[in-house]
């Protein structure tokens, strides 16, 4: 989507939300809050995709990385009795999974999509096999209400009265934008993803850069998984991630591989889901629940069909780097 259309759409949506807020403040606030919470794992997972693809590596294994981290985070928290330790175990697991993808896709120069698919299948198998019932979390994740800001109507309760994961997601998107576009690391990362041979000539270690970026990005996937298990669901179930890792890749594309764009796209996704489930609850229209569940996937396909060809991925994405 060209930037002009994206801005127009963003303004249109904002105006609509304000109108609904005037009509029914409570319900509108709850729908928008729901949307942001729904968007949290999508934002984090989209950042994983952006970090990897900006470095030239396709990460189709985000789904599996999240699933393993959610599993490790949940059982870590349940067994240690600490949500903080659980989260750290989740992030660590994500980084291990990131290093796995990096080993396959970067070091061994495997087909990147096959390497990611293996991670997904392995994660589904391992988490199903080791899954056990009867564990509960030691508590609920704390929320943080930011004084003054949280008193702003609509924006306050939506953005400034949240669980810690929500802030982490928003901050990670803003931070990644700054890092990618305003720092030396970002310039190098982008060069490795666009023209690795030129980066190599100018003395940047292409393989090393890719390996570490993919590994660190795995930590963000771990955070997304920990959010799903420790805050969103409060438990671990088989297949907990429900395709969010793949939806995140589409969000990355709508956001044009830009963290801020992806942040907006993820919230847009959340809004469609929030509005659909509210319509269903209010019984305004009789939508079978299956169609509500389908919505994010259909939206992904339709938007991909619209934007494809207009947004260019990083030039070297998907190609293992071979020295000439």
């Amino acid at each position: 989507m060209s930037a002009k259309w994206a801005y127009a759409l963003a303004i249109l949506i904002s105006v609509t939300i304000v109108i609904f807020y005037v009509l029914d403040p409570t319900k509108t606030t709850s729908v928008v809050s729901f949307s942001l919470r729904y968007a949290v794992p999508l934002i984090l997972a989209a950042m994983v995709g952006i970090m990897c693809e900006r470095s030239g590596v396709i990460n189709i294994g985000i789904e599996g990385q999240m699933l393993m981290s959610a599993f490790a985070g949940f059982f870590g928290a349940a067994l240690t009795g600490s949500l903080l330790l659980g989260t750290m175990i989740g992030v660590g697991t994500g980084m291990i999974m990131g290093a796995m993808l990096a080993t396959g896709a970067v070091t061994w120069k495997m087909d990147q999509i096959i390497a990611g698919t293996i991670i997904n299948i392995l994660a589904a198998g391992l988490t199903s096999f080791f899954y056990a019932q009867g564990f509960t979390l030691p508590g609920i994740t704390p929320t943080l209400r930011i004084p003054v800001l949280a008193d702003i109507p609509l924006i306050g309760p939506v953005f400034f009265d949240n669980g810690l994961f929500t802030y982490a997601a928003i901050v990670s998107a803003l931070l990644l934008w700054v890092l990618l576009f305003k720092t030396v690391w970002g310039l190098r990362t982008r060069s490795v993803g666009e023209k690795p041979s030129a980066s190599d000539t100018s003395g940047i270690g292409v393989q090393k850069m890719r390996f570490w970026n993919v590994t660190i990005a795995g930590g963000l996937a771990g955070l997304a998984g920990a959010y799903l298990a420790l805050e969103a669901a409060g438990t671990f179930e088989r297949g907990l991630t429900a395709g969010r890792g793949f939806t995140a890749l589409a969000i990355m594309i709508f956001g044009a591989w830009n963290p801020i764009g992806a942040l907006a796209a993820a919230i847009f996704f959340g809004l469609t889901q929030g509005v659909a489930s509210q319509l269903q609850t209010d019984a305004v229209v009789d939508i079978p629940p299956q169609f509500v569940n389908m919505l994010p996937y259909i939206l992904t396909i339709v938007l991909l069909a619209i934007v494809s060809g207009r947004i260019k991925p990083p030039a070297a994405v998907g190609r293992p780097y071979e020295k000439d």
């Binding site: 396709i58 189709i60 396959g104 061994w108 120069k109 495997m110 087909d111 990147q112 999509i113 096959i114 390497a115 698919t117 293996i118 299948i121 392995l122 589904a124 198998g125 391992l126 199903s128 096999f129 899954y131 429900a242 395709g243 793949f246 939806t247 890749l249 589409a250 594309i253 079978p288 299956q290 169609f291 569940n293 389908m294 996937y297 259909i298 992904t300 396909i301 991909l304 069909a305 494809s308 060809g309 991925p313 994405v317 998907g318 190609r319 071979e322």
Partner: protein, 371 residues
């Protein structure tokens, strides 16, 4: 798709490079999958041992149950049938340079399509059964074509669309089986039983669907290797630029490949409905599409090799329930073994361990996001 680097589109399934056709280079084609499977069994054995069960006993239970009796063999053939077909579906895609992760969704569409055609019509048996099979194929092909058309005409990566279409198919068949196609006066979400004239018969203990799957695999072994159409698929998969230069319609071939791939998965679903389950129930058939990916990569995209690969997976799946019953080991250990097999067969681990040979070809399918 204007500038394609030939090195990027190497499927790793072509004849070996003549420059290195020593005896050792021809060995890995079969050795690597076999060693991968053994290695995966070894690690699976450690997992079983960690749960306090003797792994040799567990594997003995698993294989005796799947292969040691007529009943077991029958169940193994039943389990292998849709796997041969979904494996072939992924193979056809790989040949044309497409990674069809959507065999699962295409199979579900074929399964529910065949169920509807099976209970909704009263036809003579000789007409009804082929009609249901073809209808299932068409449902799967239509579902695959969505991803094919988006890839061919809008350059949208089939990897993402087929994954999304899987989720949509799961929700859609759930809706269909719980509302419009639901068996009336009955609490479960499922379609009515198919008519007797639509059922796939058993020939002695052998399910006729199994024979059908073998015939289809042999047919594709011939089609992909010996015919012009197979040549078109392979050329588009290996080098779309050269294909266009040779006058092959790249877009048309991509669309056709996804339709054929979806049709094969749809047939897998139809055979499952008409031969085994007799109706469609949403909980059936889950996971068959993903096993198809493992089978296709284990078979190194060779259509005939999908038969032994699917038999192996089918054997494990058939024996896993007995494993749980007799030893308490979760049947998901089979999923772990299969995932490890996939890892070893696709990653250059085994090649490095055995041959210290860096020149073993890697399976390369994709070219980034619709590049």
């Amino acid at each position: 798709m204007s500038t394609i680097d030939p090195a990027q589109t190497d499927l790793g399934i072509t004849d070996p490079d003549p420059r290195r056709s020593g005896p050792l280079d021809r060995v890995p084609a079969i050795v690597i999958p076999v060693v991968s499977v053994l290695l995966a069994f070894a690690i699976g054995g450690i997992l079983i041992w960690l749960q306090g069960v003797n792994p040799l006993f567990a594997y003995q239970v698993l294989f005796r149950d799947a292969l040691g009796s007529v009943d077991g063999l029958e169940r193994t053939m039943e389990k292998s049938t849709p796997l041969i077909l979904t494996g072939l579906a992924v193979v056809v895609g790989l040949r044309a340079g497409l990674f069809n992760i959507g065999a699962q969704g295409q199979l579900l569409m074929g399964a529910i399509g065949a169920a509807w055609a099976g209970y909704n019509f009263t036809l003579p048996p000789l007409v009804h059964l082929p009609f249901c099979l073809i209808f299932g194929i068409l449902c799967g092909a239509a579902w695959g074509s969505i991803a094919g058309a988006l890839r061919a005409y809008r350059s949208v990566s089939e990897v993402i669309t087929t994954i999304m279409l899987n989720s949509i198919a799961i929700a859609l068949v759930d809706y269909l089986a719980s509302r419009p196609l639901k068996e009336p006066d009955q609490p479960l979400s499922r379609t009515p039983l198919i008519a007797e004239s639509a059922a796939l018969p058993y020939i002695g203990p052998i399910p006729s669907g199994f024979i059908l799957a073998l015939v289809v695999a042999v047919f594709f072994g011939w089609l992909l290797v010996r015919t012009t159409q197979g040549f078109r698929f392979n050329t588009v998969g290996m080098n779309p630029g050269a294909a266009r230069y040779a006058g092959i319609s790249v877009k048309g071939t991509i669309l056709l490949a996804m339709a054929v791939s979806g049709g094969l998965a749809g047939l897998g679903g139809a055979v499952e409905t008409l031969g085994i389950t007799g109706r469609f129930e949403p909980a059936f058939n889950i996971g068959l599409g993903f096993d198809g990916i493992t089978i296709a990569l284990l078979a190194r995209a060779n259509p005939l090799a999908t038969i032994p690969a699917a038999l192996l997976v089918g054997t494990l799946r058939a024996g896993s329930s007995s494993l749980q019953f007799q030893t308490g080991i979760e049947p998901e250990v089979v999923s772990v073994i299969l995932a490890l097999t996939l890892l070893f067969v696709s990653a250059p681990i085994v090649g490095k361990l055995l041959f210290r040979n860096r020149s073993i070809k890697q399976t390369t399918v994709t070219k980034g996001w619709g590049a």
